[in-house]
């Protein structure tokens, strides 16, 4: 049997979910025996080179660019998993959802104590190189269909490991109560 192919990405996340994957420690060496990685931070593959079996998504969507990446993952992965609170429900970045983007930008670039006396020209980041902020932060399932959810902030390493092993072997997995409540 061919090894299942896994892809991962970080959208509007803090990379803590990827770090939690690294916290499987020595098992990372077994993981490379169990699966092949395609597009992922862990290698050089920038664009999907083949259809993947499992896509792990960290983070929700706060930029137009996040939406494009997520849609690309949906197109190229048979199973998509929202990993962690940000992917599942926006997480901490979604705390800006009650505010306008302008208020947030003004605070950072015009009103903050280290800028307010030093930005007479009222310069704002607006270059064509910069992606556009969405009006709010969206959880992944509002943008594309998501097949599974792994709760936690971040989901603990054992949970990520068990989920991957269960999926690879076609088993069901148990989510104990204490990992489902927010942490």
């Amino acid at each position: 049997m061919n090894k299942p192919i896994v892809a991962t990405t970080s959208l509007a996340g803090c990379f803590g979910c990827h770090m939690s994957l690294l916290d499987i420690d020595e098992r990372i060496l077994h993981l490379i025996d169990l699966v092949d990685f395609n597009k992922s931070p862990i290698n050089d593959i920038k664009k999907f080179t083949k259809t993947c079996d499992i896509g792990l998504i960290e983070g929700g969507c706060c930029l137009d660019e996040n939406v494009h990446v997520l849609q690309d993952f949906r197109k190229n992965c048979k199973i998509l998993i929202s990993v962690g609170e940000c992917a599942i429900m926006g997480g901490l970045p979604a705390m800006r959802n009650g505010l306008s983007v302008k208020e947030c930008l003004d605070e950072a670039y015009l009103n903050g104590p280290t800028v307010k006396n030093h930005n007479q020209g009222k310069v704002m980041p607006n270059d064509e190189e910069l992606p556009v902020l969405l009006n709010k932060v969206y959880p992944c399932h509002e943008v594309v269909k998501i097949d599974y959810y792994l709760p936690g902030c971040p989901p603990r390493a054992d949970l990520i490991w068990e989920a991957l092993v269960a999926l690879i072997h076609g088993n069901e997995m148990d989510l104990p109560y204490e990992v489902i409540k927010f942490d």
Binding site: H18, D23, D25, E26, L29, K46, M95, T114
Partner: protein, 493 residues
């Protein structure tokens, strides 16, 4: 014909990044920029939240070194609850936090060296990108043991964090005025004398070996290491009051490229008197500078290189010995060699391991006096040395305990101008006059950035390479050539 080259994404940290490089008609680099392309709005949306939430909220900006944000926010909240700055806590409170922080420093530095830098050093900057990652290192039988060592060093640091903060990522250990748990004797024994290799003595030994590995590489590739993106700059960090290297608490010091003190051990509660930030339209990340020197000349570097330039000595014996050899290399003057950052980082790793062992042997960690409270204050600044450099947190809190103002200058932001300089330097050195952009040239740009900011790289780079895309545009902004780091090459016109 003039061209624009875009490297995207360089990766994320507290943000995603990309690089654009403009070439003029003669293929000379006319402009290069590192754009940070992500914005969160934390400063605004944290307003209205109760102050005690800050240490658990803010760390979710960055899961790569969350302990740094957790503790910087907690230090600011110490001031708010009247527990003073840094030295106001109980010995147990302060030492538990130190243990957490040095554990974080140790795991972050180990991750950076083994997972990110070692592929470049062991396999070569121009090695096939398909194997130039830590998996490539692990699968190479000569280096397998080393890869395992890296994984275990990171694991050890993460275990320390788990036992001090409650969990490995986004813990809750530090609270305003102190800490919510001490270290049980079982936990202490586990960390101090745990089963091989997870014990303090082994970590010191492995840190020494990693340092020896780098020094060996340096002796073989001296010209490359010395000449890669060298430029003079100012350097800023915390130092202990007596001038010792300290990651957790102290006073702010800055030196210029010659070693003259341009910020003389000031109290960081007054950082606003000395530091300001410039906004530029092409990046979401601001550009900090020393106000006295102004926007042009006031920028500075932070991180391992800067810390070993500002500190007078290292308060642990083995690291101090290494420090003396390192300083002798530049005759005691500040070190401005970009790639020597790795050397400095490994000396710090050794120091962190020594401090961890000393702390674990300290009976204060088993005492029960955990929290201090005093006169409630309306404003507080928390500062510490994160793995990547000085981290500023500043909050104002109203009578209802709500945060009304938050200002953060994170390590990566402090290094914004230096990273831009490094990119420019390398772009000019590697791309000027070249007709074709090759993968090693792109990697060279990454290598320069990676030296400053493990996060910028370890983000997408946690196990290997960050994906890069370089696009060449003509002066009408039409795409004429595109190249990806997995060596696919497309021509579109």
């Amino acid at each position: 014909m003039s061209q624009k080259i875009t490297i995207s994404p360089v990766t994320r940290v507290e943000g995603h990044g990309k690089v654009s490089i403009h070439l003029d008609d003669n293929n000379q680099v006319s402009q290069s920029r590192l754009h940070i392309v992500e914005f969160r709005g934390f400063e605004r949306f944290v307003q209205g939240r109760p102050y005690w939430e800050a240490p658990v909220l803010v760390q979710r900006l960055c899961g790569i070194c969350p302990v740094s944000h957790h503790l910087a926010a907690a230090k600011a909240m110490d001031v708010i609850v009247g527990a003073g700055t840094g030295d106001g806590l109980t010995p147990t409170g302060e030492k538990m936090r130190r243990l957490m922080h040095y554990g974080q420093m140790f795991q972050s530095h180990a991750l950076h060296f083994f997972h990110l830098v070692s592929p470049d050093l062991l396999l070569g900057i121009d090695a096939d990108p398909a194997i130039r990652n830590v998996i490539g290192v692990a699968q190479n039988e000569n280096f397998q043991a080393l890869a395992v060592q890296g994984v275990m060093m990171r694991k050890y640091g993460q275990e320390i964090i788990k036992h001090t903060a409650g969990k490995k990522i986004h813990g809750t250990g530090a609270i305003p005025g102190g800490i919510n748990k001490n270290l049980s004797t079982e936990e202490r024994d586990l960390l101090l004398n745990g089963e091989d290799p997870l014990n303090a003595a082994k970590m010191i030994k492995w840190a020494e070996e990693a340092l020896a590995l780098f020094k060996d590489y340096y002796h073989k590739h001296r010209d490359f290491v010395d000449n890669f993106s060298y430029f003079p700059s100012n350097h800023l960090s915390l130092v202990r009051k007596d001038g010792a290297l300290d990651f957790y608490h102290g006073v702010l010091r800055a030196v210029d490229a010659e070693g003259n003190k341009i910020l003389k051990d000031v109290d960081y509660q007054h950082y606003l008197n000395y530091i300001a930030e410039e906004v530029r339209s092409w990046s979401y990340m601001k550009f900090p500078f020393l106000t006295e020197l102004g926007k042009e000349n006031g920028w500075y570097r932070v991180g391992p290189l800067a810390r070993l330039n500002t500190a007078d000595f290292i308060p642990s014996p083995k690291a101090q010995q290494e420090f003396e050899a390192y300083k002798a290399h530049t005759n005691g003057k500040p070190n401005n060699y970009c790639l020597h950052t790795h050397w400095a980082r490994l000396i710090e790793t050794l120091h962190a391991a020594e401090v961890i062992k000393d702390l674990l042997e300290d009976p204060d960690l088993q005492k029960d006096d955990l929290v201090v409270k005093g006169k409630r204050m309306p404003e507080g600044v928390g500062l510490l040395e994160a793995p990547r450099g000085t981290l500023f947190h500043h909050y104002e809190v109203n009578k209802d305990d709500q945060i009304t103002m938050a200002n953060l200058i994170v390590s990566t932001t402090n290094n914004n101008q230096p990273m831009n300089n490094a990119v420019e330097n390398v772009a000019k050195a590697w791309m000027n006059g070249q007709n074709e952009i090759t993968e090693p040239m792109m990697n060279a740009v990454e290598v320069a950035i990676r030296a400053y900011d493990p996060c910028l790289s370890c983000a997408t780079h946690a196990l290997g390479k960050m994906p890069l895309e370089i696009s060449l545009y003509n002066n009408h902004n039409e795409l004429i050539d595109q190249m990806q780091s997995d060596y696919t090459h497309t021509k579109s016109s």
